[in-house]
């Protein structure tokens, strides 16, 4: 029921977002979230955007884990 895939908003008309993921375009009602803008990523459930994705946080989280993964890899190599 719940597409957990973040979709990027391409345009907004009458509080409906036209958003895409990959090459596929979806429409999502924006009535239950605040301040969605073109370029934002939204999480869509049953035709409604339920929340925006915070890109800065997403990238920060990834960076931390990438660093840890690299560190671990180097540590393993040294030990190996």
């Amino acid at each position: 029921m719940c597409l957990a895939i973040p979709m990027k908003i391409l345009k907004i008309e009458n509080n409906i977002a036209f958003a895409e993921v990959g090459e596929i375009e979806y429409q999502a009602n924006l009535d239950i979230i605040s301040d969605a803008r073109v370029g934002d990523y939204i999480i869509v459930h049953a035709g409604f955007a339920i929340e925006k994705l915070d890109e800065e946080t997403a990238l920060e989280n990834l960076k931390i884990w990438q660093d840890i993964a690299e560190f671990e890899e180097k540590r393993q190599q040294k030990m190996g």
Partner: protein, 362 residues
């Protein structure tokens, strides 16, 4: 490459998270419950269990909306579909769930007008285009879905639609978690909490679980790295003997939730006791439409005859929902019960535990 998806499937990060979990894992057995059916899919699809210590057990919980919907709701929907000039609108996976005597798909093949909607707004469109018909939307789902059903009821009211109503089978999460813990059927050491329910509600609803029941809670995203990180956070809490509510899915879930959605939900719905498949009646765990919007409440609008409820005696879906059995314990699993010919709700929905076991553990 799909942005904010593929990065969270990075195998190197998954490997190092798996190592970290192994490093801090205590010797004792740990039982974690993933409540959401979406999480169960991630666990199976990406083989997460293979990356975990042997003594870490993942148990699927009651988080698939279709699965927890009691037979009496399906029976009521079928009764409504027999009324004259009625169109039943439903999310697709409800149609094949067996009720006491039939399923919606069976009724559709007879004479009932039953239509699949991707969104409740589709049902609103159908209502606008069929003014001489009564459109009844089958409202199931947790806090993720409730605000959008509420929003469509508000739209219907502001547009003066008189032929639209909702049969509410909505449920809320925290009381079911408490009921599971109170039943003491299984010993749980931590909850992997549903990401999109929490996107709406925020973190506060799990406080009672962490503080009163002393069970650690981590709100998780749906990619493999999210799941592994959440499991790591839970094991760390257990090892350190603390129980708090943590948010792993920070890119989507704000601590205070989606205030606008909460406000819309509370405007239209209020708590009511509700019957769950497997868990029975849980006080205050359902949602009914407030009297201000009662013209949109199918329960108020129509006389729905009470049908004596029957369960398939071979189906142990209820026990699976409570975490005390897995589909492998069911004699019908894969033999008589398959996604093509489901005998119980857990085999119907994509998010159902039996459907997930069927799809990924062949």
């Amino acid at each position: 490459m799909v942005k904010y998806i593929d990065e969270f499937r990075n195998p190197n990060i998954a490997k190092s998270l798996s190592q970290k979990i192994h490093e801090i894992m205590p010797d004792s057995k740990i039982n974690l419950m993933e409540i959401c059916g979406g999480h169960t899919i991630t666990i199976f699809k990406y083989g997460i269990k293979k990356l975990l210590p042997q003594n870490l057990n993942l148990i699927s919980g009651p988080g698939c909306p279709v699965c927890v919907t009691d037979n009496s709701f399906i029976d009521s929907a079928i009764e409504l579909s027999h009324l004259q000039n009625v169109i039943i609108c439903s999310f697709g996976d409800m149609l094949r769930v067996p009720g006491s005597h039939s399923s919606l798909i069976n009724e559709k093949s007879k004479q009932s007008d039953i239509r699949i909607c991707y969104s409740p707004m589709d049902a609103i469109e159908i209502a606008k285009n069929n003014k001489n018909m009564e459109i009844i939307f089958l409202g199931i789902g947790f806090e993720t879905t409730v605000p959008l059903i509420a929003s469509s009821i508000i739209s219907a009211k502001s547009e003066g639609l008189k032929n639209f109503s909702v049969l509410s089978g909505h449920k809320t999460m925290p009381n079911a978690m408490k009921a599971l813990l109170d039943s003491e059927d299984i010993r749980l050491d931590g909850f992997i909490c549903p990401g999109h329910v929490s996107a709406i509600t925020g973190l506060d609803l799990y406080k009672i679980i962490a503080e009163k029941y002393k069970i650690p809670c981590v709100v998780s995203g749906f990619e493999p790295i999210d799941m592994l990180e959440s499991i790591y956070m839970l094991v760390k809490q257990i090892k350190e003997n603390i129980s708090t509510v943590q948010n792993q899915y920070t890119r989507v879930v704000r601590n205070q939730g989606n205030q606008k959605a909460i406000e819309i939900m509370n405007r239209v719905f209020e708590p009511v006791d509700a019957e769950w498949r497997g868990l029975g009646i849980i006080p205050g765990s359902g949602l009914k439409i407030k009297s201000e919007f009662q013209q949109f409440d199918a329960n108020q609008k129509f006389d729905i005859p009470l049908i004596e409820k029957k369960e398939n005696p071979g189906c142990i879906c209820g026990n699976i929902m409570r975490g005390i059995n897995t589909p492998l314990d069911c004699k019908l699993f894969k033999k008589i019960c398959t996604p093509q010919s489901p005998q119980g709700a857990c085999m119907v929905s994509d998010e159902g535990t039996c459907a997930t076991y069927f799809k990924y553990s062949l």
